[in-house]
């Protein structure tokens, strides 16, 4: 396999975007990545679109074909990749394989989702379509409900408290204030979420023990990366950030069939694969973007990915190690919690943030001197997980 370079990145602010269609958003993010790569009029060989549910949310399918038309990228190959909440990561992985194999030289990967076209309970129902149709969906299970059942067990087993969960929310919303692309631009406090007389109004129960501020928002948005070879990236005069490692792993569809439901095996295996391919160890990572769709996941993933041993993630968080300026800043972008989680966009947006961090272009949220980055895109409830290790060569 030949090295794959991320020569261009781009995204549009995640928010409620009533004026833009899904394909508009994909096109805007895609153009930004092409321009960032100095691509000019060079042809793109293939386009991969990460999107979970355009048919259900927007009554439109074949969005990759629609995108190449809008961007005048014909006759480029075009595929939509659907892999639940890991659709974005899967799209980046497929783009990586296309370039690494030598089949393509220039690939555009765009992830996007337009979720606010439907009302909240409908969005919750559409997202719940990823659960098992007979064993889960019919009971009214939601993703927050799966997270609630997981959180209860994790708290019980590892002594994670609501204070710890809230620390993730406070930290990530604080980081979000430094990120102009983040959906949620609001500082919150431990007191306002936990102890204030109005705390139950500020952060009501969604699926006990999960509260509102344990959940990512429902957002519209898109993000894109342009992948190519080292030679072409040099011709385009772009800084060299390579995809040094890719790992993916799966687990049972339902949580109840895992012998230990608190053990996120797919996170462990995907991360190990990405680290082993890159030759970089967890201790060498300078910045990480984890999939904090729910606050517990940032803690659990930080342990399963190998940054902290089991039960130590919450302690590292409480000690400030995961803040910007800490030993291992996690989610300087604000994570899904503040940046938002337009489902298909997330895996791509995580990679975009890492590229900005590794190029030193992350502005006020810059992690100083970052060279190695790690991202983790978590699909289903941990049944399909993709990890990336990125390295800056400059």
């Amino acid at each position: 396999m030949r090295p794959v370079v991320i020569a261009g990145v781009g995204m549009i602010p995640f928010e409620r975007r009533d004026e833009d269609s899904l394909v508009d958003m994909l096109a805007m993010a895609g153009l930004k990545a092409m321009d960032d790569a100095n691509l000019g009029d060079r042809p793109v060989d293939a386009v991969y679109v990460g999107n979970m549910a355009s048919g259900l949310f927007n009554h439109q399918v074949s969005v990759a074909s629609a995108l190449v038309d809008r961007l005048n990228l014909m006759p480029a190959a075009a595929d939509r990749i659907e892999n639940g909440p890991a659709s974005g990561g899967s799209a980046v992985k497929n783009g990586f394989l296309a370039v690494a194999s030598g089949y393509c030289d220039i690939v555009l990967v765009v992830g996007g989702e337009k979720m606010r076209e439907v009302i909240g309970p409908k969005a919750t129902d559409i997202v719940a379509c990823m659960t098992h149709p007979n064993a889960e969906y019919i009971y009214g299970v939601t993703l927050p409900a799966l997270a609630g059942m997981f959180t209860r067990l994790y708290m019980e087993k590892y002594g994670v408290t609501r204070e710890h969960l809230t620390m993730v929310a406070v930290k990530n919303q604080e980081n979000g204030l430094l990120n102009p692309y983040a959906h949620i631009q609001m500082k919150i406090t431990m007191e306002g979420v936990l102890t204030h007389p109005q705390a139950h109004v500020n952060s009501p129960v969604v699926a006990d023990p999960i509260h509102l501020y344990d959940c990512c928002p429902v957002s519209d948005g898109a993000a894109a990366v342009l992948l190519t070879t080292e030679d072409i990236a040099n011709e385009l005069k772009r800084p060299i950030v390579t995809i040094a490692g890719v790992g993916q792993a799966t687990d049972t569809h339902t949580l109840q069939e895992r012998s230990d439901p608190t053990d996120l095996k797919a996170v462990t295996i995907a991360s190990q694969k990405a680290f082993s391919m890159s030759g970089i160890k967890p201790k060498d990572i300078d910045v990480a973007e984890l999939h904090d769709a729910f606050t517990i996941l940032e803690i659990a993933e930080s342990e399963h990915a190998g940054f902290f041993s089991k039960g130590q993630g919450a302690k590292a968080l409480a000690a400030g190690e995961t803040q910007i300026g800490g030993k291992l800043p996690i989610n300087p972008s604000g994570g899904l919690k503040a940046r938002g989680h337009p489902v298909g966009a997330t895996g791509v947006a995580q990679v975009v943030e890492l590229v900005w961090q590794l190029r030193g272009e992350a502005g006020k949220r810059q992690v100083k001197g970052a060279v190695n980055g790690f991202s983790l895109n978590f699909g289903g409830f941990g049944n399909n997980v993709i990890a990336f290790v990125l390295r800056s060569k400059s």
């Binding site: 919750t124 019919i138 009971y139 023990p209 339902t254």
Partner: protein
């Protein structure tokens, strides 16, 4: 009483629910269809306050129950104060209306 169908691998004995074409432990392809036993214990639960479109309730408790014969399944928990490990008795009732049709599933009540 109607209930779910679980699957016991004829080769290694692993009990599975829902259905798989190959055993999760030994890849065996032949299964004995079994019913969960009458009672079980609560492994984990959540109280959902924000229900999805299509469920017209203010609150619903869902939990995973391990039946005495090893079957594990999600269901609606009808207990005032759910507690991890509590003993529950299984029932079968409409749990959701989909396309105007009542869909039946597991419900659980504390054993007296």
């Amino acid at each position: 009483m109607n209930t779910i169908t679980a699957y016991k691998c004829k080769k290694c004995g692993l009990v599975m629910y829902p259905h798989h074409f190959r055993c999760l432990k030994c890849n065996g392809r032949e299964f004995e269809e079994i019913k969960p036993s009458a009672n079980g214990k609560l492994l984990t639960y959540t109280i959902i306050e924000q229900l999805p479109w299509g469920i017209d309730e203010r609150e619903r408790v869902l939990g995973v129950v391990e039946f005495d014969n090893g079957v594990k399944a999600l269901g609606v928990i009808k207990a005032e104060n759910p507690k991890l490990g509590m003993k529950l008795k299984a029932g079968w009732e409409p749990v959701r209306v989909i396309g105007g049709e009542k869909v039946y599933g597991l419900s659980f009540q504390p054993t007296k």
